[in-house]
Symmetry: C2
DNA sequence: TTGCTCCTCACGTCACGTGAGGTGGC
DNA sequence: TTGCTCCTCACGTCACGTGAGGTGGC
């Protein structure tokens, strides 16, 4: 399958797929005589995993570390650790975001009381 | 006052202050014979405003637009509009963040049930 | 003289998106 | 032939941080 089809199937833009390949996240696929990339089905699952992980704000480096490790209980534990760390980061972010929002609401309330600014 | 003192007073790193000057957010200060920047007190307030606005995730472009406009009721209305827009963006972000967190919690729960991965 | 502060470039960061300029394939 | 897909560079994005290499000032 060509890159456009893969992009449609996974919801990952072709330019992004090429970027992941260059970055080393994805193996270089076979090429047709024309030079077009020719993917098989197995990469679909990998790309969907990457998409999920990116959606959870994992960096490409973290994703690469996971994909490079051999499957097994050790990798599973490492993944679990990463996810728990990430959850803590997101919790912290949520707190920050809550502060930003209440500060902003206060500022909006204030500005409507002042004479000018 | 030199840039180091200004950095201490405002909590904004000297490298960042220079960057804001180059970007056009801050007016170029006077210079001593040595070439050192020489600030007066008035810039402290401006920098603190920038710091507050950046903390609320306003872009430098948005901040520049506000600072470039002449003070008065029109600028006040524009600022109010910007703040309300920003609040909506932050509300949206909070929703996204909530989804990310619950997805992550589910994944963590799942992985502890599976045999391996 | 020492050591702290300051100066100006210039490059790196992160994860891509977007052209430019060219070609394959039905 | 048309028009869609694909190719490879190379540069832009955003808001800085971090050197390199040099100098002022007590």
């Amino acid at each position: 399958m060509r890159i456009g089809k893969l992009a449609d199937k996974t919801g990952v833009a072709a330019s992004r797929i090429r970027f992941y390949e260059q970055y080393g996240l994805l193996p270089a696929p076979a090429r047709r005589n024309s030079g077009y990339r020719d993917y098989d089905e197995s990469v679909v699952e990998v790309l969907r995993f990457i998409r999920l992980a990116r959606g959870l704000d994992f960096s490409l480096g973290e994703i690469a570390a996971h994909l490079a490790a051999p499957p097994g209980p050790e990798r599973k534990r490492a993944l679990c650790r990463r996810m728990k760390d990430k959850l803590k980061q997101l919790d912290h972010l949520a707190v920050q975001l809550g502060k930003q929002r209440s500060l902003l609401r206060n500022l909006i309330a204030e500005i409507n009381v002042q004479e000018s600014g």
